[in-house]
């Protein structure tokens, strides 16, 4: 890789250097959380976390572990910055994002620290492009305080079965209602649209249901407009874990397998719709 030969390890002033042989491994997963322009990047020695929020009611996090990168050097415990995600994605696809086998864009992503731009070195077929994206003051992401101790219901489904349901969801419905229950209907997605309502029921013993752990019957409604972006992550994923806590907050965790068979996670948090919370 021509890029790796350029690295001069120690005397570099960067606080963060991350290299990927295939930039698609990053761009694909970032695409699945692109519903707002601004993304908060937080890098720790474990890897990179990218956060996008909407209306303070919904948050999406993409986790890319350090070992996904061919090189991941971080000189501080936490490096945080904010960039325009759309611009970043445009840069990552600057060579057209070819999906042809054997043709991939190599990436080296460097950040010098507060006040500096995020520098991307992209190389494909011997051509190198350097992109500098101005960074912004990182905002504090909303803490949804979703902790596994408060989880009342949890199911893990193969994404395949949810993809169908999500592709058919009645978009004239303002909300998606999720019912999880230890008894019938177990796991139900409901919409209430112009032409009537629709329910999708998943029995707990279905082959699509990898784990079913529901302790109480819970029915919550979530704004369709907030959940809609999560279908991008769903499309990429192979499994999804659906959890609700005692407050009715929803967590959707998607397990995404990238081109090289490595595993990343995308997580969505969503607040329930107020008016029906106390139903």
């Amino acid at each position: 890789m021509p890029l790796s030969t350029q690295s001069q390890a120690d005397d570099e002033p960067y606080v963060l250097v991350a290299s990927l042989d295939n930039a698609r491994n990053l761009s694909n997963i970032l695409k699945s959380i692109t519903f707002k322009d601004h993304a908060i990047f937080s890098a720790t020695p474990n890897g990179l976390k990218v956060t996008v929020e909407d209306s303070k009611c919904m948050q999406a996090n993409a986790f890319i572990q350090a070992d996904i990168f061919q090189e991941f050097t971080i000189k501080e415990d936490l490096v945080g910055f904010q960039v325009n995600l759309t611009v970043l994605l445009d840069c990552l696809n600057i060579f057209g994002g070819s999906t042809v086998q054997g043709v991939s864009t190599a990436l080296r992503m460097c950040y010098r620290g507060y006040g500096y731009p995020l520098t991307l070195f992209l190389e494909e077929g011997g051509v190198v492009t350097v992109c500098k994206i101005n960074t912004q003051e990182p905002e504090e992401p909303v803490d949804f305080d979703f902790c596994s101790n408060n989880v009342t219901n949890k199911v893990i489904l193969l994404s395949e079965s949810l993809k169908e349901a999500f592709s058919e969801l009645d978009m004239t419905s303002e909300v998606l209602q999720i019912t999880m229950s230890p008894s019938q209907p177990y796991f139900r997605l409901s919409t209430f649209g112009n032409s009537g309502n629709a329910h999708y029921d998943y029995p707990k013993d279905s082959e699509m249901m990898e784990l079913f752990r529901c302790t109480t019957t819970q029915t919550n409604r979530y704004k369709m407009s907030l959940l809609k972006p999560s279908t991008k992550a769903l499309a990429l994923s192979c499994k999804v874990s659906v959890r609700t806590d005692s407050r009715g907050f929803l967590s959707l965790q998607y397990l995404v397998r990238n081109d090289d068979g490595q595993i990343c996670f995308v997580e969505y948090y969503c607040c329930p719709d107020e008016e029906v919370e106390e139903e």
């Binding site: 169908e164 032409s195 629709a198 329910h199 999708y200 029995p203 279905s206 699509m208």
Partner: protein
């Protein structure tokens, strides 16, 4: 639950709904003794389609006894139930259609693989019975072929083309794009000739030609091709509906398309093909004929005599006098305006108003209030008629 239809899922049900969606925006559902009828009509009421699924199509078929139930609903919402045909075919095992009259919901339940249960409770409106008046068995010209033949024929026409003209002789069928007289010099004419031996059945009693909308024909062909069922085409006179039909042991589908009634059609034909002009009686009764075959919406709950579809011998004078009487009773859609129509025809030949309006005006023709018998406005029918059909829907 009043009415229950259960069937092992067959894609043909979804395909029928998809092809009905190419006709109109609303799906009329009527469980009848002889099966579940799904119907649709377009907004200008120039095209109508009906599928009848026999009780045998279902593994269980129970309908309310005593009072008839019928409803209409947005076809889009029903389509949403059967959205992705390809994946449905692989995943759905059983389909259940039930009516919850208390909640005024029609419930479609799909039992899918892996135990997934999809329930769609769709709201509906009460509706009048939708019934086109046509008697295809009395038609003189009958053709039957594998859908492929017609698919291969219409594929040559651009998607933007609105109407085609089908002409027949004893041995051949010509299909060509319909071009308004005034556009003739500018447009390209495409004509295909099909020999009678390409058809499974080819019976011509009157050598004439009809012009009708291509869109609905295409819709029908998509259905026929995907099910592989042979398509039968019936038509008679220009101005009387053309019927396309597919039949199977458990289902029957009929598409009734209005045809253009235009004197120039005859003239064109005669000059182009040295065809023998249609026998004089036909001409004389053409307008009556149109009335009797016109797609009429039955607004009465108890269907009039026409619902029994009297077996009409082709071209028999008596039929024409009988049928309008039956039709008049049902709604204003059938108006007594034969004289007016005749005069209009004569005028149309020369005045030839806005091209497409001519086509529409024909189908709306019968909705014209009798007061328009003054016949000074041959082509101003549109607004009148559009509003009429709106009234009808309410």
């Amino acid at each position: 639950m009043l009415c229950i239809c259960v069937c092992v899922y067959r894609p043909v049900l979804a395909k029928a709904i998809h092809s009905l969606s190419r006709i109109g925006d609303e799906l009329y559902v009527e469980p009848q003794d002889d099966g579940l009828a799904l119907r649709s009509v377009n907004s200008s009421r120039s095209a109508y389609a009906c599928f009848l699924f026999a009780p045998l199509f279902f593994s269980r078929y129970t309908i309310p006894s005593g009072h008839a139930f019928r409803c209409k609903m947005a076809i889009k919402s029903v389509q949403a139930v059967f959205r992705s045909l390809a994946s449905l075919e692989k995943t759905v095992e059983k389909c259940h259609i039930g009516l919850d009259e208390k909640k005024n919901r029609l419930t479609f339940t799909l039992h899918c693989k892996h135990g997934l249960l999809k329930t769609h409770n769709l709201s509906f409106q009460d509706s009048e019975s939708l019934q086109a008046v046509f008697d295809k068995d009395s038609y003189g010209n009958v053709f039957r072929s594998h859908p492929r033949l017609l698919v291969d024929t219409v594929v040559h026409f651009p998607p933007s083309l609105e109407e085609v003209t089908v002409s027949v002789s004893d041995e051949r069928m010509w299909v060509r794009n319909h071009v308004e007289e005034e556009d003739r010099s500018k447009s390209m004419l495409t004509e295909l000739c099909l020999a009678s031996d390409e058809f499974d059945h080819f019976a011509v009693t009157t050598q004439n030609s009809v012009t009708f909308c291509l869109k609905e024909l295409r819709g029908m062909l998509v259905f026929a091709e995907s099910t592989g069922l042979p398509v039968s085409m019936y038509f008679d006179e220009p101005g009387s509906p053309l019927v396309l039909s597919v039949t199977d042991s458990v289902l029957e589908g009929n598409f009734v398309l209005a045809t253009l009634s235009d004197d120039s059609n005859h003239r064109k034909n005669n000059s182009r093909r040295e065809q023998t002009p249609p026998p004089p009686p036909n001409d004389d009764f053409m307008d009556d004929d149109m009335d009797s075959y016109l797609i009429a919406m039955d607004t009465s709950i108890a269907p009039g005599p026409s619902a029994t579809r009297p077996p009409t011998p082709p071209l028999a004078v008596s039929t024409y006098s009988k049928q309008p009487a039956a039709a008049n009773h049902r709604s204003r859609l059938i108006a007594e305006e034969q004289e007016e129509e005749e005069e209009e025809e004569a005028e149309l030949a020369d005045s030839a108003g806005p091209p497409n309006k001519k086509f529409c005006s024909l189908f709306f023709g019968s909705v014209l209030p009798p007061s328009s018998q003054t016949s000074t406005q041959p082509v101003t029918n549109q607004e009148v008629l559009a509003s009429d059909s709106e009234d009808d829907e309410q």
